[in-house]
């Protein structure tokens, strides 16, 4: 099964600019942003006050009652997206052979809001007030476990944590599982830690945008870039072995054709000064894995950090591989904020729909590229253009780089 081809057959989305795939995709093509003043807690006393929150999410509408006391907000979003992905793929894993289906998700910080409540109970009242669900509701494996239970998925499963690179790493791990003989893997990532404690941790990272104007806060590649706005949500994707998907007549969005991950040497070290930048190596390795050349790529979904020196490093990696302004680059995450483990999964969903609709979704709010960045940024309006292959980039804080190539369904 080493040669097993992995195809995407289902998409479920919980994004700050739309709950459900059709609502989010329409908003994305219209350039509608979900970045707004924080409503989940009173952020007025914090120096950063904007976030991407999933709108109109009524947990009781999507999640069985018995699961409500044992789930963090981000797990509820993940379960909702997983249900949509299954509905979209129009498949019932119970029809598959035993152990043929599993779950591999990305995680970054776990159920932080749930964790804050229990820490508060512990320190304000005492250990005996801590919830019986705390042992698993906050931890990094919770979404994989809950999705596995809800959908009866008993095959090989997993959880990867590489901050914002995780969405791609999880999907690549899902492809490994298909190559190992699994037929269907639920993958992607849904994340979020928009609570005072999570916010404090993110502020400590020193890269949050402190702007109050939602249209001027998260400006990757812009001369006025000043950090990023975090968000919640992401995407859950169904990845199936291509022959099995074909046999059941599944609609195929595209194929995960290439992937690679690298790690950066510590800044300032000898290796850092002498080596090829990790992101560029990841791109080159992912293209080689896909058997494609740079000119085969029709669009790059950028990691788009919003931190000037990281934007520059990414732009230089893209330019080094593709040439100056030789490939359209976009960052629809300018409409959602950075979603950590959910970010790259949502970008993969966008890449698949860009292939389907022959439309590159736009980057919003960028008015002037930072000096020296030679990018063809798809700005403001979606760009009609055939998309046969898309490259998705993601970086996790600390030096994690990942690159994935998705291509349209190949004829058989």
């Amino acid at each position: 099964m080493v040669s097993a081809v992995a195809v995407f057959t289902g998409i479920g989305v919980a994004a700050p600019n739309g709950l459900s795939t059709p609502v989010w995709w329409k908003a994305t093509l219209n350039g509608e942003s979900g970045i707004r003043p924080i409503s989940r807690f009173d952020a007025s006393r914090y120096p950063a006050r904007l976030a991407g929150e999933v709108p109109g999410f009524d947990a009781a509408e999507h999640i069985p009652n018995r699961l409500l006391p044992q789930t963090d907000h981000m797990t509820r979003l993940a379960l909702t997206a997983a249900q949509e992905a299954f509905d979209d793929a129009d498949t019932d894993p119970a029809q598959l052979p035993e152990y043929a289906a599993g779950v591999v998700t990305a995680s970054s910080a776990g159920g932080f809001e749930f964790g804050q409540r229990e820490l508060e109970a512990l320190w304000s009242k005492g250990g005996q007030y801590v919830s019986a669900y705390q042992s698993f509701a906050w931890f990094y494996a919770v979404n994989t476990g809950q999705i596995s239970i809800r959908h009866g998925l008993r095959g090989p499963s997993g959880v990867l944590v590489t901050e914002q690179a995780g969405g791609l790493d999880a999907v690549a791990q899902a492809r490994r599982r298909l190559r190992g003989g699994s037929r269907l893997i639920v993958t992607g990532g849904v994340d979020g830690a928009i609570c005072p404690w999570g916010w404090t941790a993110q502020l400590a990272g020193g890269r949050l945008s402190l702007a109050d104007d939602p249209t001027r806060a998260y400006l990757p590649f812009d001369a006025a870039a000043r950090g990023y706005v975090p968000g919640e949500g992401g995407a859950i994707l169904i990845l199936e072995e291509a022959a099995a998907a074909r046999a059941r007549g599944a609609r195929v969005y595209g194929e995960l054709a290439g992937y690679a991950a690298t790690f950066d040497a510590k800044s300032g070290s000898e290796q850092h000064l002498s080596g090829v930048p990790g992101l560029r190596r990841a791109v080159e390795l992912a293209l080689a894995d896909a058997g494609l050349a740079p000119h085969d790529i029709d669009v790059v979904f950028a990691d788009a950090s919003g931190v000037p020196h990281l934007d520059r490093a990414e732009a230089e990696a893209i330019t080094a591989v593709f040439g100056p302004r030789r490939v359209p680059v976009t960052a629809p995450k300018t409409m959602t904020g950075r979603l950590y483990a959910g970010g790259a999964a949502l970008d993969l969903a966008a890449a698949l729909l860009a292939i389907r609709d022959a439309l590159i979704p736009p980057t919003v709010n960028i008015t002037r590229l930072a000096e020296g960045l030679e990018l063809d940024l798809v700005s403001t309006e979606p760009r009609p253009c055939p998309v046969r292959a898309a490259l998705v980039l993601a970086r996790g804080r600390g030096g994690f780089n990942a690159a994935a190539v998705v291509v349209g369904a190949r004829p058989h």
Partner: protein, 432 residues
Amino acid sequence: MAITGIGVVAPGGVGTKEFWSLLTEGRTATRAISLFDATRFRSRIAAEADFDPHHEGLTPQEVRRMDRAAQFAVVAAREAVSDSGLEAAGALGAAGALGAAGPDPYRVGVTVGSAVGATTSLDTEYRVVSDGGAKWHVDYTYAVPHLFDHFVPSSFAAEVAWAVGAQGPASVVSTGCTSGLDAVGHAVELIREGSADIMVAGATDAPISPITVACFDAIKATSPRNDDPEHASRPFDRTRNGFVLGEGSALFVLEELSLAHRRGAHVYAEIVGFASRCNAYHMTGLRPDGREMAEAIRVALDEARLPVTAVDYINAHGSGTKQNDRHETAAFKRALGEHARATPISSIKSMVGHSLGAIGSLEIAASALAIEHGVVPPTANLHEPDPECDLDYTPLVAREQRVEVVLSVGSGFGGFQSAMVLAREGLERGTW
């Protein structure tokens, strides 16, 4: 796939040698919790590591920025790399422990398993920013500068990668209490598929904190035998009443056998099979028949091209909860049939406690050392066998015997069930 380096930080001592002495002597490292004042908790005992990061060579800034679990991992990684002989290829320095003249850093990857990440630092820092839980809107101005690195445990993999100079694929694997097995399984897969030549892989956890103790108190998963901590972890014993929390880390240097031979490295053991399954049953509960664990064992032995009768020793999950030990016994019988009765089994958790995600890697270390030294470590504190756990759990005393093949298993919250098969280097295996 060869294990050519082992590094350990465990209760009872830092270093592989100390760890193996403790296990083979059947000593226990469980004691009253000293890391914080546990007076008000139900379970006030744990297996703690006596660990001084400064003494272990971490710089003051490394100590300041890293959670205890990350410190463990970096120390274990350095021991593993040094043990593997890779360090000799170049000087320690800015280029990391692998050295400037060592292997291509782009071909060296890192995988660190952890169940609960920097939960201990998060607990400590939360207490400050919330002023003892008094404020929902916590005061961010009291946060330490490295709080973000505690927020995302991927920082553990970054620290290890920096420490050894790796620039290949790096990640944290977090599948609850199977993280330690799954992280190493993942690393093996990355080498096999050609994404790396060498992986520094293993797991770490340092969960002995008020919030972790409280959350296990809440579900009565941990032992309340506070008056007798040394004998509190009693896997497979009729009187067992929960697991004893532990901490620690084990990291390995993994590489293809051919590469190990080429550079004349010592090979502790080969990893010849790995599989995992989910029970899709309950986040903390186990299906009594053990069928998913049995399936993982069956598939791992298949991959190893070994019959069930080849298994010489089973390194059990053996947490010491009523539920787990029965579940696991059922799984062994289901997977190995009659051979389950003829195979020595043991749980090192009886001695080093249950360090959540880390323990799977500590158990791989114990399994590799069992092959290396021809010794099966015992299950300490097993005096009164549970009639429902009716296999040979190697009570109290280690056994010297030839060990060619070890099966190591794990079971975790979230429903994860994993199995790994280790074999003596060069052991002849089937070709079917």
